[in-house]
């Protein structure tokens, strides 16, 4: 937990093996796979509707096990980045 951060219910994950593999792992932990992130190969956008949309800390639950799945190279819960218009 980093103070001042706002945690969302979106994840970025890196899974090799293609879309189907990603879909399978998403379903396994209750996520929905929103597809590849732009042109970043093997990187996927997962969304978990049962995790609160914004939270001051990273909630734990069955969805957290995705971080430990051997088939997941990397997973990052998305944090809101404050942005201002110039």
């Amino acid at each position: 937990v980093v103070s001042g951060h706002v945690y969302t219910n979106h994840w970025a994950v890196r899974i090799t093996g293609g879309q189907e593999q990603a879909d399978r792992i998403a379903a396994k932990y209750g996520y929905i796979n929103f597809g590849q992130i732009g042109s970043l190969e093997d990187h996927y956008h997962f969304h978990h509707s049962r995790v609160v949309r914004r939270a001051a800390y990273s909630l734990k639950g069955p969805h957290s096990f995705i971080h430990m799945d051997p088939e997941v190279d990397w997973a990052q819960q998305q944090v809101v980045k404050p942005r201002v218009k110039r």
Partner: protein
Amino acid sequence: NAQSDPSVIHFNDPKWSNMWYIQCGDKSSRCRSGMNILAAWQRGYTGKNVVVTILDDGIEKNHPDLAQNYDHLASYDVNGNDHDPTPRYDSRNENIHGTRCAGEVAAAANNSHCIVGIAYNAHIGGIRMLDGDVTDLVEAKSLGVRPDYIDIYSASWGPKDDGKTVDGPGLLTKQAFEQGIKKGRKGLGSIFVWASGNGGRQGDHCSCDGYTSSIYTISISSTTENGNKPWYLEICSSTLATTYSSGEFNERKIVTTDLRHRCTDGHTGTSVSAPIVAGIIALALEANLLLTWRDVQHLLVKTSRPVHLKADDWKTNAAGLRVSHLYGFGLVDAEAMVLEATKWRTVPPQHTCSQMPERRSRYIHAGERLNSSITTSGCSEEPEQHVGYLEHVVVKVLIVHPRRGDLEINLISPSGTRSQLLNKRLFDSSNEGFRNWEFMTVHFWGERAEGTWTLEIGDSPSKQRNPEVLGNLKEWTLILYGTSQNPNQPYSAQHSRSRMLEIPAPEEILVESELEEEDEYNSPCHSECGDQGCDGPDTDHCLNCVHFSSGSLKSGRTCVSHCPLGHYEDIASRRCRRCYKGCEGCVGRSAGNCLSCRRGLYLNTLNSSCIDTCPPDYFADENQRQCLRCHDTCMRCLWSADRCTACSRGYSLAGMTCVPECTNGTFFHLEEMTCSPCHSSCRTCTGPGKEECIQCAEGYLQQEWRCVPTCSPGYYSGEAAGVPHNMCYRCEENCLSCSDPGTTCTRCKEGYSLVSRTCIVNASCNNADEVFCEMVKSNRLCGKRLYRQFCCRTCLMNG
């Protein structure tokens, strides 16, 4: 300072005369030096076929000044996860920013709406990504939208400028940048333009904004009409160039399109400058589509100039370039950009020389300066990493410190040029220090890299601190980017097709002549010698050959099992005969017998000849040295079948891609990659919905964002300039039906009554005495909407 003749170009757009920053530069103008945009237009460059997108809170795609150039293929809604970037409308007009930026780039010209964009014939799109939670994933997605189609991404946002934030692109976004640079624009590299770090607050330093400090982004700052530093501008060593923008209340502003089909001069700050440069780069890309992302930065460095911009830190670096922390290399020059672009030669490949980190931990004493040096050869021992001439310099630091805002960091090059990487920040009381934060500077552009670099860190407490807790420079790394050769020397003929036929290597030179007769010899012969024996042990002593004879008397005759390159095997005479010039492999002497070509030439499969320029519909494949056919949608292409420079009939060029020209009543459907029908009420559209019309079908009128058969109550029908159909204009307030031209109401809403053809609130008043009514009528207050409640009904009803 090219003096363009503004009288030559005049558009009927209502705000044309307010666009001082485009017409700047002529004798009568208050601003002395222009950005020479008019001159670039006069040379014929208006951004045709170039695709620009705005990363922001959306774009009003049917704004009358944007619709013509709007490109839905350059748009996406990351917040809504669909293809429609239309902003979310709300009472506070939160999402006006993207539409304002878009207008600066590509508002259509001469259509009697608002303004003229810098690249008024470019494709313009929008990526809606600020109107929701912005995360690393959202930014990465936004930067990765259709990199082979979109040429330029313009962003006018960044981390908070509260003077205490240090933030930048996350892991995914950094990868998206690198992916865009390596693969975008089919290998030429996506162009990322970024507004340098301001946000309406002071006391910040934009080196703490990781987007403008990236070597992949072109960071742009602003100056006012009089060349002064705007109050909001932050100093920054990564700023590359500058444009005009808003300034003090008495200085003229920038005008652009606004949400709800309007026009505004309320667009300010460096948010203005990034889209202006995006538009100027679009003009340069039109002049030369093959510019790489580094070519564009070199062009900006070469053509921007200080003119009358006032800064007390202008200096000349060792490459003779004037540069400042406020304005980079100075005010952009559109005409110079397009002129240079037309004859530009690709700069040599980028090399990266990363020095071993300096890991000796050093205390930073309050009130003192710490110097730490690294000496480098510019990686001259590694050809692939050797940096002889500098472009960007990055310093990555690991500093522990009790109050980060007290630090100032400078970098001094071997040539003695000094660049301030960080200035003190009064509001930054963070004790996090800098954890592998990367500072970037462009101030050493063109200088030589080798020598001793000095990092100078100052610590001057702005508040009382515990003297026992010292700052500590744990580690710093110097990363040099640049080229091994001088980029100003001609490097590659990639752009110029004027390559001469290469002179063959000596071993290939053969003079055409008949072979001499053989001599006698008795000792053992070489295995290639034929039955007539030899006069020596080697193959050039044979009297006849088993397989083939090669060479001539002058260069020496020899027997070979296979003929050398540039020759074919004449089975009948058992001799190696020379191919036609330019052929490397052939089956005969004539030009049409080639099988492969020498370097620099390409095999034309139509007639098996070697040529240096492929015919139309073909491109020169470097690997196979062959002319290969373009994609069937391409009429002309370069480097690969799908990098088009001209399209076949029925397709139009966007970037280097050919997309179908959908006829009226259809739109290009992305998923199906075909033309799909619009809604029946649309003549042209961006999608199947009835709210996605651009122009209305015959018999329909445009009302707000739809095409309707008849105007709704409260609207009247009227002509509209520049569109083939009528528009439904709103009657005056509170009026239910009116007749043309809209000022004569015929029926009012409930609670209002019609008096002298206007709708007056049904209130009567009790102070309508003679004097008051006289005042009301003599001043014609009832004709002004604001004053209508002044007893108008009573006064007018009573004559």
